[in-house]
């Protein structure tokens, strides 16, 4: 696996190693991943929370950088693992946010909105997705959103959450079943990825 590189060719692991002797080198890691982590937090908890939590991820990462496994060139699983730990403290807030969004589902239907059309439209399907996300166990939601929003592979999610890859497969499968049931449409029946990898240059499977 090739990790992100700078023009000088350093992987994330190389940047972290360099920061052990030159702490300012850590800024490279910050610049590479801050925006993606902020966006991930913002989608889950809103921008106000994302502001603090993203900064906290990097403060934590900096403090723990001596424990980083240099065999992992890409630091994203490590950073998202820290993010997942921080998010545990905000589960109630996330559920409130999702449930508030989910309440819009009933309104759309009451308004006579065509349900099939709604499912085909990502914005209109939002309340249904929110309901599905709110109703699933936290560990399934975590795996699903790391896959769909953070764009980590199965193996990377396993590293982030410190669980076996098989556990990730199982959690994702159950999470997606729940989403499909909520959406309840023929378009939602799709094949699982054979190996959990994300083909380069393609969208989601």
């Amino acid at each position: 696996v090739q990790g992100p590189t700078t023009q000088a060719g350093a992987t994330d692991a190389g940047v972290i190693a360099a920061s052990m002797t030159d702490p300012q080198a850590f800024r490279e890691l910050f610049e590479r991943h801050f925006d993606a982590l902020f966006t991930y937090f913002a989608r889950r908890l809103g921008r106000d929370a994302a502001d603090d939590l993203t900064a906290e991820v990097f403060l934590t990462a900096y403090g723990r950088r001596s424990t980083y496994d240099p065999a992992c060139p890409d630091a994203r699983p490590w950073l998202y693992g820290i993010a997942a730990n921080l998010l545990r403290r905000h589960r109630r807030a996330e559920l409130r946010r999702l449930r508030a969004h989910a309440r819009e589902a009933g309104r759309s239907r009451d308004d006579g909105h065509d349900a099939v059309e709604a499912r085909l439209d990502s914005r209109a399907a939002g309340p249904l997705l929110a309901r599905a996300l709110a109703s699933m166990p936290a560990h399934q939601r975590e795996a699903l959103l790391l896959f769909a929003w953070a764009e980590l592979s199965y193996e990377e999610i396993a590293r982030a959450l410190d669980v076996p890859v098989g556990t990730v497969r199982s959690r994702l499968s159950r999470a997606r079943d729940r989403v499909r049931r909520e959406l309840d449409g023929p378009h939602a029946v799709i094949a699982d990825e054979p190996d959990g990898s994300r083909p380069v240059g393609e969208g989601l499977p």
Partner: protein
């Protein structure tokens, strides 16, 4: 669209603005600088001098503000953190000493930007004046009470005039609404334990210059240090914020980290405590502004108060 594509498109968010990124890097950069300080003076960052300026006591806070530096001191155990914690603790001590004789506290609570609750409390010795003045309800006068020289006065909810209720001792003891209990709350929340507890528990302190020569100390604090359990209702514990407001959502979860801003005036006294929690869409703010600590005018009996039995 399949299920994963729908989820991927759900709740889209744009990335951070440059100011957000700059602030985050400033926090990290200060942590890095702090660790270099700990490694030895040879690599000391010039900003570390400002930490020392802000270290000692209330008088130094003004100097730190005038220096107009953005100062991050990292976690509670990080180098420099002790300085800022010492400064906050000193401000809390000075505030407590000044608040014993007199002062004013204005409490405001909002939910999603709208007024939720509020009150103004003035005290002077054993006299006090409390008005529940926020948010206004249509057709309803402000409610409140006043105690002067042991006599209790209350607002008439129908017309807003004052009614003389008799001696303050006649209020049911233990109800939480006797003048002595209000004064005890003042002692707890302004002059004593609450401020000490918050100042001791705040983490990840960042300071910045505030208005009028003040310094704002921002950080996080466990909700349990701000909202204390006071009662059990329906089998569930009720936690209340200073001055008796019921805590909601994260504020009711003792372990939840709340965002806190402590504003210390140029005189070294705490001017404002502001706490915020909850996501956008359910955002709570709770703020207490102090004024006139140790220098408030005496409280006088309301003119024209009607006897209770008229």
């Amino acid at each position: 669209m399949n299920d994963l594509e729908l989820i991927a498109a759900f709740a889209p968010e744009s990335g951070p603005d440059p100011e957000t990124r700059r602030r985050a890097w400033a926090r990290l950069d200060e942590r890095i600088a702090g660790q270099r300080d700990a490694a030895g003076p040879a690599r000391r960052d010039p900003r570390a001098r400002h930490r020392l300026i802000g270290a000692s006591a209330a008088a130094a806070l003004a100097a730190a503000a005038a220096a107009a530096v953005v100062l991050t001191v990292g976690g509670p155990a990080g180098p420099g953190a002790e300085d800022a914690h010492a400064a906050v603790a000193e401000a809390a001590r000075a505030t407590a000493a000044s608040a014993r004789s007199s002062g004013t506290a204005v409490v405001r609570m909002t939910h999603d930007g709208s007024p939720w609750a509020g009150s103004t409390l003035r005290w002077h010795g054993a006299d006090l004046d409390l008005s529940h003045d926020h948010p206004p309800r249509p057709g309803e006068a402000a409610s409140g009470l006043r105690v002067v020289g042991g006599a209790l006065y209350s607002r008439d909810p129908r017309g807003g005039g004052w009614v003389e209720m008799g001696r303050a001792e006649s209020i049911d003891p233990g109800s939480g609404t006797t003048p002595a209990e209000y004064l005890a709350a003042v002692e707890e929340d302004v002059s004593g334990a609450t401020l000490r507890r918050i100042s001791a528990g705040v983490q990840d302190l960042v300071t910045r210059p505030g208005e009028g020569g003040s310094t704002v100390y921002s950080g996080t604090v466990a909700a349990g240090l701000v909202a204390r359990q006071s009662a059990v209702k329906g089998g569930r514990p009720i936690r209340v914020l200073p001055f008796g407001y019921v805590a909601h959502d994260e504020a009711a979860d003792p372990g939840a980290p709340l965002r806190i801003d402590l504003t210390v005036g140029g005189n070294g006294l705490v001017r404002r405590i502001a706490v915020a929690w909850g996501p956008a869409g359910s955002r709570w703010t709770y703020a207490v502004d102090y004024a006139g600590l140790g220098a408030s005018a005496p409280i006088v009996a309301p003119v024209g108060a009607a006897p209770l039995r008229r």
